[in-house]
């Protein structure tokens, strides 16, 4: 019982972060980012190379965060250039994700599954790192939503066209948001894929869970920081249900 309790908590933390990223992207950048799964895989691959080639772990982590930020930003620029609405943007992100996944697969042809081998990040440490990211993300959001920027973000969440009319630079926030959420997801991938076999489609499962959680949480129609707290609550319920089923 105790073991499953811990695993529920760690899965809640993991899925909360994922769902928060999905939701942030949807609310601020205005599309469902279906490339997040591939970004997670990207983090995993960078992690694989860092550990198997014995690079500095921290530098590897940083590379993954920066690289995925840039990738997210590129996606946003594509979306802005080609897509006209929520749906088109989402389809573009799906194409982008599939493309990224394929590039990962084609450039790493040693085998479909990559395994880091020894337990480079011990389970305890991994869960603490997840919790740390969780805290960082939530404190960051809390700080932002309490600042001037937060008012603008809330404005964008409620009505982005209106926000634009009132002079909020929605595009800047959307760009930063796509980059930032990609960074978070890649960090998750970097840390968590050390415990499992790494393959290009590794991110789909947490992505779908994240989307489901974010969708359930949005039923409550709250905006701002409160919404992201609700996501954690839903993630807890979701993890509980999963632990009973499986």
């Amino acid at each position: 019982m105790a073991v499953s309790f811990i695993s529920v908590i760690s899965s809640t933390i993991f899925l909360s972060i994922f769902a928060v990223a999905v939701s942030l992207n949807f609310r601020i950048a205005r599309f469902l980012n279906l490339s997040h799964g591939s970004i997670y895989a990207l983090g995993g691959y960078i992690s694989f190379f860092t550990f198997s080639l014995h690079f500095n772990a921290f530098l590897g982590f940083l590379t993954s965060a920066v690289f995925s930020f840039i990738t997210g930003a590129i996606l946003f620029l594509l979306v802005k250039k080609i897509g006209k609405n929520l749906l088109e943007a989402t389809i573009i992100s799906l194409g982008f994700g599939i493309g990224l996944e394929e590039i990962l697969r084609l450039t790493n042809r040693t085998g479909y599954y990559l395994i880091i081998g020894e337990n480079v990040i011990p389970t305890d440490l991994r869960e603490n790192l997840n919790f740390l990211i969780f805290l960082l993300v939530f404190f960051f959001l809390l700080a932002i939503y309490r600042s001037q920027t937060g008012i603008k973000l809330k404005f964008i969440e409620e009505d982005s066209t209106l926000a634009e009319i009132y002079g909020v630079n929605t595009e800047k926030y959307a760009l930063l948001c796509t980059g930032f959420t990609s960074s978070i997801i890649a960090s998750l991938g970097f840390i968590n894929s050390t415990s499992q076999a790494i393959f290009p489609a590794i991110g789909w499962s947490p992505l779908i869970s994240g989307i489901l959680i974010a969708a359930f949480a949005s039923i409550f129609r709250t905006t701002g920081f409160l919404h992201y707290l609700r996501i954690s609550a839903v993630a807890l319920v979701y993890s509980l249900i999963l632990s009973f089923i499986i």
Binding site: L32, L34, L78, I82, G83, K84, N85, L86, L87, E88, T90, I91, I92, L94, G95, F96, G97, I98, G99, E101, E102, I103, R105, L106, W204, S205, I208, I211, L212
Partner: protein
């Protein structure tokens, strides 16, 4: 003066003329299709026949998908639900019962179950529908490796999937080409029939359709059934062609296939969608021979550019008409 030459051009005449010219075009397309498909089997080229069978199965999936798009205005990214469900169900029943007839039952059963799922999902608005069908389809893909069977004390299924009996290539070719031709004929004739107008009206504007007294709930049910059953049969044929069923039949690349195959075809043109499916299958195969599975890069590129392409060829401005 010959009174027939002088006949007035009335709206009704114009309408009837358009319909009959469309019917001629359909007859021509049908005939060409039959000729081409017969020619292919006569070549006796095993690989060509195999690849054409695959393209035929994918075309059937695209046509079923297109019915939902053209008649319901609903873009589904989850047609892997009937497709994969039927593949899995038929394989499992075949293994358990060892009776080939069970295949027919599984095609219909999987189609009906999916139709109910789609009918429920179609109550959501159009944009939401795209998302939710994608999510349901992708969930099925993620869950499918958990399907295990115990046969003679041995666990089978999982990532590996199930193997079923092989049937001769000629037979599968004839079945899938007949099926595809029938689908093409049925959907084309349906679209030319006056009965399709209420569907198209609903597709264009559900509210305006209701204001005219069109019972859209019932139409959505019909659309779900008419689109899901053939998609389910396509999935069953897919399983027979490979003699194998794996989580692959729920995969995202099959889910997006009809969308990609239709991106280049003209609005509502079924023949265009068949050509699109064939081109996609043949190009994918060629790219595969250069670099395994590199065709997914092509899919990715088309997906990314799809809004542009759609805007170039439709008079409506956005995917889903905005």
């Amino acid at each position: 003066m010959n009174p027939e030459v002088e006949e007035k051009i009335t709206p009704l005449r114009i309408y009837r003329k358009t319909i009959s010219s469309k019917k001629r075009k359909f007859a021509f397309e049908l005939l060409s299709l039959i000729v081409i498909l017969s020619a292919i089997i006569l070549t006796g080229n095993f690989f060509l026949i195999w690849l054409t069978s695959l393209a035929l199965i994918y075309s059937s999936l695209t046509l079923s998908w297109a019915f939902m798009e053209d008649m319901g205005g609903r873009t589904s990214l989850g047609h892997t639900i009937p497709f994969g469900l039927s593949a899995y169900l038929s394989a499992i029943l075949l293994i358990l019962t060892k009776r080939p007839e069970s295949v027919l039952f599984s095609w219909i059963a999987a189609g009906m179950v999916s139709a109910i799922i789609f009918y429920i999902l179609s109550r959501i608005d159009r944009v939401g529908f795209v998302f939710i069908t994608f999510i349901v389809g992708a969930s099925a893909w993620l869950i499918s490796p958990l399907i295990l069977l115990k046969v003679n004390g041995e666990l089978i299924g999982g990532e590996e999937g199930f193997s079923i009996f092989t049937i001769s290539l000629e037979r599968i070719y004839i079945i899938s080409s007949t099926f595809m031709i029938l689908l093409f004929a049925f959907f084309s004739l349906f679209s030319l029939n006056y009965r399709s107008l209420v569907f198209k009206a609903m597709r264009d504007d559900e509210k305006a359709a209701r204001a005219s007294g069109i019972k859209i709930d019932r139409l959505k049910l019909y659309i779900s059934i008419i689109s899901c059953i053939p998609a389910s049969i396509s999935g069953g044929l897919y399983a027979l062609l490979f003699s194998h069923v794996s989580p692959d039949s729920f995969s995202i690349h099959i889910a997006i296939f009809p969308f990609i195959a239709s991106v280049f075809s003209r609005d509502e043109s079924l023949s265009g969608r068949i050509v699109g499916s064939f081109i996609l299958v043949f190009i994918s195969n060629y790219m595969n021979s250069l670099l395994p599975e590199s065709y997914l890069l092509l899919y990715a590129a088309i997906l990314i550019l799809s809004p542009r392409i759609v805007r170039m060829r439709f008079f409506r401005m956005e995917i889903l008409g905005g």
